[in-house]
């Protein structure tokens, strides 16, 4: 008698039931969409977007642990808020999308401050300085922007500050390879696929790890400042981060990760950058 009773279900019920099964996983989401420091404190954890393959700013070491300058700053901020922290390592091109999609609460991810980025995210006050450079082997001759056009190829990470700079400053017709991330860019240089890379001031250290004393900065494009990023319109967390940055500048806590990772003293930061506002309005 059982098969007969069961078969009274018709097709529609079957499809609806199966559809519900599929919908279930979508309901079990863990949201990263907290807006204010109070909500973060209530949740007890802050989810931070960081770079996973860009030493010394943010990188995952061989044991799978997140390290770097931005990691140390995250630790300090989390201590300030009294919460634990969780890192989400992100690709260069994926940093802003991850923030705007709500996957992370804040970005401490080597975010150089540019006006077009400031249209998509809210920057905090600057907390670290960077230099965007062109790096190549010492033997290669590159003295001016025009020399870039003579190279067989230049690699840059897609969506990065150096991608913008190289594209802006290289003569028309230069072969520019935009790759997915800092790791791929460095690999392109080391495998000889390109003759130069657009990077930041630490690329040469990474490159020289593989072949000591081979690489140097050839051109300096721009001095940039990095800030923490939050979503547009979220005033409280922006104010909280700005207060935190002021505090660690004043009491010398910023100097410690600066000495450890940047190997420089803390520089003077500009009071304002054109096109970029440090406070949410």
């Amino acid at each position: 008698m059982r098969p007969y009773k069961f078969s009274e279900l018709n097709r529609r019920h079957l499809l609806l039931g199966a559809a519900a099964t599929i919908a279930m996983p979508m309901i079990l989401t863990r949201s990263a969409f907290a807006v204010t420091p109070d909500e973060l404190k209530k949740r007890g954890k802050i989810i931070v977007g960081i770079q996973g393959d860009n030493p010394p700013w943010g990188f995952v070491n061989s044991s799978g642990k997140q390290e770097g300058f931005d990691a140390d700053i995250t630790e300090l901020y989390a201590k300030e808020l009294g919460v634990t922290y969780e890192f989400v390592p992100l690709e260069v091109a994926n940093r802003i999308p991850a923030l705007t999609a709500g996957r992370v609460d804040v970005l401490f991810a080597t975010m150089a401050m540019f006006p077009d980025r400031a249209k998509a995210v809210q920057f905090s006050k600057p907390y670290v300085a960077n230099i965007i450079t062109l790096i190549a082997p010492k033997a290669t001759v590159i003295k001016t922007n025009e020399d870039m056009g003579k190279l067989s190829g230049i690699a840059v990470p897609r969506g990065s500050a150096q991608a913008t700079q190289v594209k802006k400053n290289a003569p028309a017709g230069t072969n520019i390879l935009e790759l997915d991330g800092d790791a791929a860019t460095i690999q392109a240089m080391l495998s000889g696929q390109v003759q130069a890379v657009g990077g930041n001031m630490f690329y040469k250290d990474k490159l020289n790890e593989s072949k000591p004393d081979t690489y140097e900065d050839k051109l300096e494009f721009q001095r940039v400042y990095n800030g923490a990023c939050t979503r547009l319109g979220e005033k409280e967390i922006n104010a909280s981060i700005n207060a935190f940055i002021d505090k660690i500048k004043a009491n010398g806590e910023l100097a410690k990760p600066y000495a450890k990772w940047m190997k420089q003293p803390v520089p003077q930061f500009p009071a304002s950058i054109e096109g970029v506002s440090f406070s949410a309005s």
Binding site: I96, P97, A163, A184, Q187, G192
Partner: protein, 218 residues
């Protein structure tokens, strides 16, 4: 949702489509060459050659295309073989497609009746003629649908070549996305462009069928 950047960048996207179709056609050509050569070598009298072909096919079919193209672009230079992005993509697509083509074409070749081959020799055809007219052409006709759908997949696989910055649609799409931050809009439109391109490829392959291979068979 803001489709402005997509509309603005549409000419670039169309050129990217041209790049994709170019890569796909070049990859297909290489795949057919590798496929037919592989089928011939697969029946070699020397066991070493047979095993080489078998290993090649199994290795390529059981590893991801992304890893294959990473290997060619980033690792091979360390043994002295340095290839630019677009040739890398063509070689990777040809090798990958070729491995599948070997298996598909081989299935067709094996389905040819031995009597056909004997009849060919009886008619005085040379060995190369027998292979071309009696074995290969009927085999291709028999397995054409499988090969065609594999080639449509190859056309779609070109999107992975963006990982080594080859010139094709996905690379262009990523650039537009990075400048505009309108990810969903860009990739949504690009997905439709790929859909149209796979339709174009299908029409092209159907055309080859009706021109070359659509002869009556008992």
């Amino acid at each position: 949702m803001d489709f402005g950047p997509v509309i603005e960048g549409f000419p670039r996207l169309l050129w990217g489509c041209v790049g994709t179709l170019g890569l796909a056609l070049a990859g297909m050509a290489l795949a057919i060459v590798i496929g037919i050569s592989g089928v011939v070598l697969r029946d070699s009298r020397r066991a070493a050659v047979r095993w080489l072909v078998i290993s090649f096919v199994e290795l390529i079919r059981n590893t991801p295309f992304l890893v294959q193209i990473y290997f060619i672009f980033f690792a091979l230079p360390f043994v002295g073989i340095r290839i630019n992005p677009t040739p890398t993509a063509i070689i990777a697509l040809g090798v990958n497609g070729g491995a599948y083509a070997i298996e598909i074409i081989r299935g067709g070749v094996q389905s040819i009746n031995k009597g056909q081959v004997e009849a060919g020799y009886a008619l005085g055809l040379r060995k190369s003629q027998v292979f071309r007219l009696v074995i290969l052409k009927p085999a291709l006709r028999a397995i054409y649908p499988s090969l065609a759908s594999q080639f449509i997949l190859l056309t779609l696989t070109t999107s992975i070549a963006s990982a080594v910055a080859a010139y094709e649609l996905t690379s262009v799409a990523k650039q537009i996305e990075n400048d505009s931050f309108r990810s969903f809009e860009v990739y949504g439109v690009v997905t439709l462009l790929y859909f149209i391109m796979s339709w174009i490829m299908m029409t092209f392959l159907n055309l080859i069928w009706s021109r070359c291979l659509n002869y009556p068979v008992k």
